[in-house]
Symmetry: C2
Subunit: 200 residues, 2 copies
Amino acid sequence: MNKIITIGREFGSGGRELGRRLAERLGVAYYDQEIIQEIARRTAMSEEYIQRVVEQKPTALLPITIGHTFQFTTDGVDTMAQTVYREQSDIIRELAAKSDCVIVGRCADYILRESNPTRIFVYADMESKIRRCFERAPENEHLTEKEMRQYIQKVDKNRAVYYEFYTGRAWGDWHNYDLCINTSGKDIKVLVDSLTLLQR
Amino acid sequence: MNKIITIGREFGSGGRELGRRLAERLGVAYYDQEIIQEIARRTAMSEEYIQRVVEQKPTALLPITIGHTFQFTTDGVDTMAQTVYREQSDIIRELAAKSDCVIVGRCADYILRESNPTRIFVYADMESKIRRCFERAPENEHLTEKEMRQYIQKVDKNRAVYYEFYTGRAWGDWHNYDLCINTSGKDIKVLVDSLTLLQR
């Protein structure tokens, strides 16, 4: 069975960079935006549209009970979200079957639960996340610190709702991960190097 | 500056074994019970007495305000607890200055905060902790599962109160650690080996 590492992460914690650098160090495949691109290819939806769907809170998707069975509401948006999640799941399972890899986000820890992945969660204190967001996203430099904080909170809220909806698990609950890494005040490159602390 | 790793851990999570194996792998010193022995040597209190003091909830130690200054209550037990904590702090700082090392428990992460240690916290789900406790402590085999659960909760409650009293920080809050490791259902030896995941 291939060695799979999944990365969950708070927005602004540098989890994506950590995943990429980890994959580089291990010399294994790294998947993140590639999954969206592949969904786009398979469904003929645009990448931008898919991105919007996976970033949306799936509140409209709450299953409703009809008689004794659950049923999803069937308006267009919901069907799209379900299609995207189904394609995403298929693609993630195919990628994991192909080779060792690091997969960022997308409920991969849950989708691949039977493959026993190493599940990493990356987090940081709010101050570090705000600083990292300003450094990494110059397009948001017009935001005040307060607005950036609210933006970070909103993105993570959506991630939590999305994750809980599809997995039935609490996002960011450390019992769902094997290793939780605090990036507060740290350089991600140095941090990934220091994860080699056992080899000196 | 020496490379210091501190290990906080939930009772029954295998944190002590993880610390010991980590130190072995790194070829560095490992301190746990040795600290109690050294306090005993310096204070002429028995190891058993010190062990009882450090396992006690320091509720009797709540500082009281006299005029505008804080003051500790001064009955015998409190003075002993303070003496033990002060000796413990001195010893931990001396050990950290001497060589690279792994230190388990004893608020070492806080006491050594200016030496920038790698702060690890080890945790597990309750089921795993109960199983590990029964395996490791045959003297407790007369306990029912329910009693073992209550015992684990009590030990951790005391640790939390002790830690918070001396550090002003929440015990087990992941923002106080650099790396949190879930040992649920895992063999600690294999786990320590797999922490070398970056080196294949």
